[in-house]
């Protein structure tokens, strides 16, 4: 709403009256400026300055142990060595690969489970409200607590082994392969409800008269789902998948509590790798270089994705 509210009768009135509305509009703009100011300041504070600092630190050898404050980091200038190093760092690429593996397994499973659940809940049935609330609970539990819960479950002496009849030395979190499986199970448990919630909202948005018409014309449930429901849910599905993929790429809390990235580096994702580089190795300049690279790559992907979406829609 950029227009000045000018009722028809007002426009034909005297200059004085016009002046009044102009003042009002100017007041609006002025107030809008003050309204936006806090957010702008916060953005400036968290985006512009840190980005410059990150760029600066990433071309040095600076670490907090260097004994010089960060603004004198140029004394240990390294040119592009950090960037060169990250291209050939097997641990970084391993962590990236594992992140992609978790995303590639967890997100599709969450999607299919969420879709199935949404299909169950789309029609009313007695007790729907209560079960709906139960289904949503996992995603509201603090991720760190979810990590703790699955840490408890997957102990050798824990309930999973007990209920499956496995011996106490059948380890999950310290086993080379099963550690990854445990982490993925925990992520699926926590975030399937998000998929379910979004997909259900999309499914409920499908016009019911169209479905009814298709049913009257003799379409089977499966046909109706494929030909009527799915196409109308396209946007919702894309939103759900993108949202989950972005969040899954950042995964940290769960894994950090459950396995700390172990055994060895078996469950070390990008975030855990960065954390260990920051606090274990104290390679802050290197982390800054990796961070900037990630920032750049993700921005390019996001821009490409947005323009692709815009082209498709327009």
């Amino acid at each position: 709403m950029t227009d000045i509210p000018t009722p028809a009768s007002q426009t034909t009135q005297s200059e004085k009256r016009k002046g009044y509305w102009a003042t009002v509009a100017r007041d609006g703009q002025k107030m809008g400026f003050w309204f936006i100011l806090p957010t702008m300041l916060l953005l400036l504070f968290i985006v512009v300055f840190p980005l410059l600092m990150q760029l600066y630190l990433s071309v040095t050898w600076w670490t907090p142990l260097e004994g010089i404050p960060w603004y004198r980091a140029w004394e240990v200038f390294s040119w592009g060595e950090n960037y060169w190093f990250l291209l050939t760092d097997p641990r970084l690429w391993g962590a990236l690969w594992r992140t992609v593996v978790i995303m590639g397994i967890a997100v599709p499973i969450q999607f299919f489970l969420g879709m199935a659940l949404a299909y169950l809940f789309v029609d009313k049935f007695p007790g729907r409200k209560i079960f709906y609330s139960i289904m949503l609970t996992p995603m509201m539990v603090v991720p760190a607590v979810v990590g703790l819960m699955f840490f408890l479950l997957f102990q050798g002496t824990g309930p999973v082994n007990d209920h499956l009849g496995l011996p106490a030395d059948f380890s999950w979190l310290t086993d080379v392969n099963r550690a990854m499986i445990s982490v993925i199970i925990a992520d699926i448990w926590q975030w399937t409800p998000l998929m379910f919630l979004i997909l259900l909202a999309g499914m409920l948005g499908v016009p019911s008269d169209q479905l009814l018409a298709a049913r009257l014309l003799g379409g089977s449930n499966w046909q109706n789902f494929l030909k009527i429901v799915l196409p109308r849910m396209k946007t919702v599905i894309i939103i759900a998948l993108v949202l989950r993929a972005v969040e899954c790429f950042k995964i940290f809390d769960l894994i950090f509590i459950m396995t700390k990235g172990g055994p060895g580096v078996q469950t070390e994702t990008i975030s855990l790798f960065l954390y260990k580089q920051t606090f274990g190795e104290l390679e802050w300049a290197y982390v800054a270089a990796i961070g900037l690279t990630i920032l750049f790559v993700l921005s390019v992907i996001a821009a490409k994705g947005l323009s692709y979406m815009a082209k498709k829609n327009g």
Partner: protein, 285 residues
């Protein structure tokens, strides 16, 4: 449409199965919190419900010691609990106030049209990729391990949610109401404060609860930006794990229950708007 009894029964089988999977880990943690030491592991056989229910675990984390336990805590839950509350509330206030004001200006005055997208970008990147300069800055201004330092970063990272959520609520307010008030001589500030804000009050409450949940759920930022005095609940929970050699299942479960309760309660309260909040207003229910 009529559903056959067979199909309905099948539906219940699946729904109950899903509910069981959801409740299994939750219930295990909750019952674990009330179990005394001998019932924690398979050594004496696992049961779902504690054979000798006890409040010992809660007593231990609140007082630092409990009857019949040789170990004691040098640090109780009280400090982290206060820290979690203070930083989450202050962070929420910062995010909601600045997000509300900015989204109103964007919606009503058409200012800063690029702001919504640039705000959204804050959520795209893994926090750890951009935390080095933040940590250096926070150390530089003395904000590490203070309540305001943590609140500040909480307010900033949840600002996008507050902004987008309030944007959708403001877009629903008919502009005619505001125009009518303006024609009757209200100033812009009065229109905002007296007319629009009361209309979006339920939305504002939803937004605040939603942002509070996000702040309360944080683990990483508190891990990076606090050391001792303002450690939050999840970080405290994790340090308890390592200090105890990973054997204090009951206490950890008790802590987990306490940390999990507020977001679950608030989350169920704002169920209706969760879709809107989580998809940055792209979808409504």
């Amino acid at each position: 449409m009529k559903v056959s009894p067979g199909a309905l029964a099948l539906k219940y089988v699946f729904v109950l199965l899903a509910a069981a999977v959801v409740l299994y880990p939750l219930l295990w943690m909750v019952t674990m919190a009330f179990k005394p030491y001998p019932e924690w592991t398979t050594v004496s056989g696992l049961t779902w419900f504690p054979k000798n229910p006890t409040l010992q675990n809660f007593e231990f984390i609140f007082y630092g010691e409990a009857e019949g336990l040789v170990v004691s805590l040098d640090r109780t839950i009280v400090g982290p609990l206060i820290s979690s509350l203070v930083t989450s509330i202050c962070g929420t206030l910062l995010a909601v106030v600045s997000g509300t004001l900015a989204s109103y200006a964007v919606v009503r005055f058409g200012l800063a049209q690029s702001l919504p997208l640039s705000v959204l970008q804050l959520r795209l990147f893994p926090p750890l990729a951009v935390m080095i300069p933040v940590m250096v800055m926070w150390a530089f201004i003395g904000a590490v391990d203070t309540w305001w330092g943590l609140s500040l970063i909480y307010g900033i990272v949840t600002l996008p949610f507050a902004f987008w959520l309030m944007k959708t609520f403001f877009e629903e307010v008919p502009v005619e109401i505001e125009d009518a008030a303006r024609v009757s001589g209200c100033s812009y500030w009065r229109v905002f404060y007296r007319i629009t804000l009361p209309i979006v009050k339920p939305g504002l409450a939803t937004c605040a609860l939603f942002v509070f949940i996000l702040n309360w759920s944080d683990y990483l930022l508190a891990l990076l930006l606090t050391q001792k005095d303002w450690v939050t609940l999840p970080v405290y929970m994790a340090t308890l794990t390592s200090a105890m050699g990973g054997q204090m299942y009951g206490m950890k479960a008790a802590l987990g229950v306490i940390a999990a309760i507020p977001p679950v309660v608030f989350g169920l309260m704002i169920q209706k708007h969760l879709v809107r909040g989580l998809t940055f207003g792209a979808l409504k229910q």
